[in-house]
């Protein structure tokens, strides 16, 4: 079995004001994996993420990086943070430099790269996030979505092995959201492990290959999306709705239009294909409608 890049065991954390944010969390992430973390507001997603990068120190349980436990000395932490990048939920908290270029190069320079290499890395990250034209703009005159992309670029430029995205598509326009998701796919193809939190079940269903459902600081369900999103009881506990693909599939099998033993389609395209295959009589009809 492959060693997970990051793993948490029985992680617990209580904020100084007594809020019990995490109550024994176990998650695992291997290279190239795409994980979605879902849960209602205040479920503990952001708190969990802050542990994966060593910002918060667990009060119980442990975090393992490449199989070895993190010991929270300076050296361990630095090694962890080099390899695990986190894009914060609120870009405001991540941007602090006066100009976009400076902010994106901040991480690479901290890694010890010489100026010209840091610049190259930053330029590449800015190209990937589509913010090359914002290069010399001051960070405080950017729109929210632009700030979000700058904060993503700031992490990409460090080329970490694991990237954590806390609600990457919140407040982005639909086009930009799609581009961001495509970027996440591209990163995972490069072999990076990616964790994303989101409230968008359709997006999570399409994108993830493993899903964790968080509620009240605990994992109440996990598994492959086709499995997790069929568990209406889990979804109810997290106040999540069923992804539209799964809902349509359930409706079609229930009404006999699709065979009951058919596996759950992975995405919209698969669902449409299934519909076309299942009703051979209507297939040419569909085609004529398209062409007409």
């Amino acid at each position: 079995m492959v060693t997970p890049v990051i793993e948490t065991r029985e992680l617990t954390y209580t904020y100084p004001d007594g809020t019990r944010a995490l109550r024994g969390i176990n998650i695992k992430l291997t290279a190239g994996q795409k994980i979605a973390v879902l849960g209602s507001n205040g479920a503990g997603k952001s708190t969990l993420f802050l542990h994966l990068n060593g910002i918060l120190r667990p009060q119980g349980g442990k975090v393992l990086f490449r199989g070895s436990e993190i010991r929270y000395h300076q050296r361990d932490l630095l090694a962890l943070r080099k390899n695990v990048g986190i894009v914060f939920q609120d870009p405001e908290s991540q941007l602090f430099s006066a100009s976009v270029l400076q902010d994106v190069t901040f991480g690479p320079i901290n890694l010890g790269l010489p100026q010209n290499e840091a610049l190259t890395a930053a330029k590449e990250a800015m190209r990937q996030t589509g913010i090359t034209n914002l290069e010399s703009r001051p960070t405080h005159f950017l729109s929210y979505g632009q700030k979000k992309r700058v904060s993503i670029a700031g992490v990409l430029a460090m080329e970490p092995a694991v990237i954590i995205f806390d609600e990457p598509t919140a407040c982005l326009d639909p086009g930009m959201a799609l581009k961001t998701m495509a970027l996440l796919d591209e990163l995972s193809r490069q072999g990076k492990a990616i964790i994303m939190s989101t409230h968008d079940v359709d997006r999570a269903y399409d994108w993830a290959d493993y899903v964790y459902l968080l509620q009240d600081g605990g994992v109440i369900g996990e598994g492959e999306p086709q499995h997790v999103f069929l568990r209406q009881d889990w979804l109810d506990r997290c106040d999540l709705k069923c992804p539209i693909v799964v809902e349509t599939y359930l409706e079609l099998t229930a009404s006999g239009l699709l065979p009951v033993n058919m596996p759950v389609p992975r995405n919209k395209q698969e669902l449409f294909q299934n519909i076309r295959n299942a009703s051979p009589a209507s297939a040419p009809l569909l085609k004529t409608v398209r062409h007409g």
């Binding site: 630095l78 943070r81 080099k82 602090f96 430099s97 006066a98 901290n110 703009r137």
Partner: protein, 258 residues
């Protein structure tokens, strides 16, 4: 503050080497302060004004408004210098008798006040030139080049950023309050304002903590390292600066130090 910052980034001189702008600033402000003369001060004001409006293309209305601000302060300050109180007879241009005192304006006092006013305004206009054409990011480069301790520079960068966070947060809170009638009359106004101050403090504190966390997440080790954009010195500009400041000094010599 915000207005100046806006033009600092968008003006037509923003791509010029910050060192050149800094040298122009230092040379001109030195001339203005050292050669205490009406003509020179006036020339400095016109020169920097022309540079800001014609070269940097900052709208003249904006520049005028910005200049009026310190000018109004200066007028008040200079008035007290212009007016002389005395028991003795003297040549007054204009005077009132207050008991055994005479309060009035003497030609000497007037000249002194005029000189002081224009000299201060000249210095301010130089400062405006620098502030309106040089964004903070470039200033940092200049300060580094001047070997200012990095601690000071880092503080400056962070404070600069936090000022905007503070202003923005205050703006958000204010909007949120007034959209729910928080400022409909004096009483609710006072109440809202006190809440604004309090939550601004708490929020800024939280914000500064998360900013610190985010810094840590990107391997911050107690030193803020930045790349600096490379600018090229332009000999034409240097020549222009020497010519302009030379002309200022020459004018002063020819005018005989008036």
């Amino acid at each position: 503050m915000l207005l100046i910052d806006h033009y600092a980034y968008s003006n037509k001189l923003s791509t010029v080497h910050p060192g050149e702008k800094f040298i122009f600033f230092v040379a001109t402000v030195t001339i203005c302060l050292a050669l205490n003369s009406l003509a020179t001060s006036l020339a400095v004001i016109l020169l920097t004004g022309a540079a800001v409006i014609l070269l940097a293309r900052v709208p003249w209305q904006v520049y005028l408004k910005l200049m009026l601000l310190p000018a109004s302060f200066l007028v008040v300050g200079v008035l007290t210098v212009a007016v002389t109180f005395t028991r003795n007879e003297g040549e007054f241009i204009w005077a009132v008798q207050l008991g055994s005192f005479t309060a009035g304006v003497t030609p000497g006092g007037l000249e002194f006040a005029g000189k002081m006013f224009l000299r201060s305004l000249g210095a301010v206009s130089c400062l405006y030139f620098l502030a309106l054409t040089t964004p903070v990011t470039q200033m940092v480069g200049v300060l580094r080049w001047l070997r200012i301790p990095s601690l000071v520079i880092e503080l400056m960068v962070l404070i600069y950023r936090f000022i905007f966070i503070l202003l923005e947060t205050a703006g958000h809170i204010y909007t949120a309050q007034s959209s729910r009638l928080g400022y409909r009359n004096v009483r609710t106004g006072f109440h809202s304002f006190s809440q604004l101050v309090l939550s601004l403090f708490v929020k800024s504190y939280r914000q500064s903590q998360t900013v610190y966390d985010a810094l840590l997440a990107r391997c911050y080790d107690g030193r803020l390292n930045f790349v600096e954009a490379k600018y090229r010195w332009s000999w034409v500009n240097i020549a222009l600066i020497i010519a302009a400041d030379g002309a200022l000094t020459a004018c002063w010599l020819i005018a005989g130090g008036v």
